[in-house]
């Protein structure tokens, strides 16, 4: 279809405005992270730093609390991802392949868990984990994150499993392979891109998570990166804006790197989960 030049230029203006609305905040954050203290204190701040410098990054990284919180976040996110995948894969397989009575129940639970305010879950969780001495511990946060990210992982994974042609499995069954063998040697390799996408998604969710961490982790030694960043903001009187911006950029890097790989798969996974699940 041919579009009139006037309409066409209006379209470009609209998309341009959108890109500014989306991109400007990011640009400002990155630019602030590269500015000297004198520069962002100036009355007429400029979009790009006049003399970019990385001292904010080195300063942020010298902050002990920040390094430790990054290590905590990394540990928690990796452990959560592994657990979620290991536990969800069989369930996703069963959901996609069997007409069992557990299927409507599980899909109901997936929906319900997206709907309820977390305050209803977090108070009892707190009360359950405390006598087990799991509040204020990394394992405690990991198991909470596992259960909390599972619904979405299942949602994605069952879509991916459903996309694996059944005929391949049936052929394997005819050749005498048992169910477990079929899953491991036929389904898993075909599922690898979907598994990687789900793993990345789970990692990002755990890396970004704030609410449960805020409630469950009090010990300064155990706090995750989002908690430490939020605390910086709370103490704005003494906060150094440059290092704060630098730390914020660093906190976003893992999400963006994973996300760059993930982008295409994720949208298709969401859709196939929605359509075929």
């Amino acid at each position: 279809m041919r579009t009139k030049p006037a309409i066409r230029s209006f379209q470009y203006v609209a998309v341009g405005l959108y890109l500014i609305f989306l991109g400007f905040p990011l640009l400002w954050l990155i630019s602030t992270s590269l500015k000297s203290p004198r520069e962002f204190a100036s009355i007429t701040p400029s979009l790009l730093p006049k003399s970019p410098q990385i001292s904010n990054y080195t300063e942020a990284l010298q902050e002990q609390g920040l390094i430790r919180s990054m290590a905590n976040s990394l540990q928690i996110s990796i452990a959560t991802t592994i657990l979620v995948i290991v536990v969800s894969l069989p369930v996703a397989y069963a959901l996609a392949r069997f007409r069992s009575r557990l299927r409507p129940i599980t899909n109901g639970w997936i929906l319900v868990s997206q709907v309820f305010p977390v305050i209803l879950i977090v108070i009892p969780l707190f009360m359950i984990l405390r006598p087990l001495h799991l509040t204020n511990t990394i394992p405690g946060v990991v198991i909470v994150y596992m259960v909390w990210s599972m619904p979405f992982a299942l949602w994605m994974l069952q879509g991916y499993v459903a996309a694996v042609p059944r005929e391949l499995e049936e052929a394997a069954a005819v050749d005498g392979a048992g169910r477990a063998r079929t899953i491991v040697s036929i389904v898993m390799p075909l599922l690898r891109p979907g598994l990687i996408a789900t793993a990345m998604f789970t990692f990002i969710s755990a890396w970004n998570e704030f609410f449960f961490a805020l409630v469950l982790l009090q010990d300064p030694q155990l706090k995750t990166l989002p908690l430490v960043l939020a605390r910086f903001v709370g103490a704005e009187g003494q906060v150094q804006i440059g290092p704060l911006a630098a730390a914020s950029v660093l906190a976003t890097v893992p999400s963006l790197v994973f996300f760059a790989f993930l982008q295409r798969r994720l949208t298709s996974g969401l859709l196939s989960g929605a359509v075929k699940g």
Partner: protein, 305 residues
């Protein structure tokens, strides 16, 4: 998918009892953690709203019926947070939807920056909410923020505005951030919906002489309906339940002007130790969501009938 299973020949698809048994084995590793850390806490959380549970060890918890709820209804701060929550939810969801739909239509046409725009589109959603909040605090900073810089440069305002600290501007400012976070994801979802519409529908309509507007109303919107209903109801629920973004932006201030229901409940529970009261607040939120979903499901059933 269910029909696929049903139409499989007998010898290749095991019977139902066997399938149930196999399914249970596959579910087993997930079952205990989910029951213990999701299902049970949820049920207990709902019931907690009817007790006087408080933070701290060795405190007896007694069933007190609807006391928490009557106390909530008499609390002005509850009503305020409820009102703010509704304004926030509706404003963010509706505005981001309208913007996202327009944008998705644009991006569906073959414009040059489509790829860039689509890649950028999901970044806000992948960013840690805490970082988004910090970023916007820098942007909206009363003295060093570029938003005031630009507005003053264009002579729209002669004095710097303390966006997040002023009674009148705090809620609108927070809403803008909410839109910034949510709109890209909505756009991408709608775009995917648009791309799944059969082109030949438009060709046929064009042959019949239908205008662009007619095509939009009679083809695009009906074809997108499922996607629109799904994404806006999810957005509404997510927005109604949101916490971290506004917690870091304003912590509910100034003077409670941005006190969303979740912030209210969080303060009740973890600042004042009123677990029962906070759970009651959660129960109220659940009822609101269920009523909303009820309307949505009824409409959907009616339109499908």
């Amino acid at each position: 998918m269910s029909t696929m299973t049903a139409t499989r020949p007998k010898q290749k698809s095991p019977g139902r009892p066997k399938q149930n048994r196999e399914a249970i084995y596959l579910f087993l590793p997930a079952l205990l953690p989910v029951l213990l850390l999701s299902v049970y806490p949820l049920i207990r959380g709902i019931l907690l709203g009817f007790t006087d549970a408080r933070a701290g060890l060795n405190v007896t918890t007694e069933f007190i019926g609807f006391d928490n709820f009557t106390r909530l209804l008499q609390n002005d701060l509850f009503w305020a947070s409820f009102r703010i929550g509704l304004i926030w939810t509706i404003a963010v969801t509706v505005l981001q939807f309208v913007a996202a739909l327009g944008l998705a239509l644009l991006l569906n046409a073959d414009l040059r920056f489509r790829g860039v725009a689509r890649t950028l589109a999901l970044i806000p959603w992948a960013m840690p909410p805490v970082v988004v909040a910090i970023m916007w605090r820098l942007l909206l900073h009363p003295t060093n923020g570029p938003v005031n810089g630009v507005l003053q440069g264009l002579n729209i305002t002669d004095h710097p505005i303390n966006w997040l600290g002023d009674f009148n501007t705090a809620l609108p400012a927070v809403i803008v951030v909410g839109i910034w976070v949510g709109m890209p994801m909505t756009t991408v979802t709608l775009l995917a919906g648009l791309q799944s519409i059969d082109r030949s529908l438009y060709e046929a309509a064009a042959v019949d002489g239908a205008s662009t507007w007619h095509q939009f109303v009679h083809i695009t919107l009906p074809q997108l309906k499922t996607v629109i209903v799904a994404i806006t109801s999810l957005d509404m629920i997510w927005n109604f339940n949101s916490f971290g973004l506004v917690y870091v932006l304003t912590a509910g201030g100034p003077g409670g002007k941005t006190m969303l229901p979740m912030l209210f409940a969080y303060n009740e529970a973890f600042r004042y130790g009123n677990f029962g009261m906070a759970a009651a607040m959660g129960d109220v939120m659940v009822v609101i969501i269920i009523v909303f979903l009820g309307f949505y499901l009824r409409n959907r059933l009616r339109s499908e009938a």
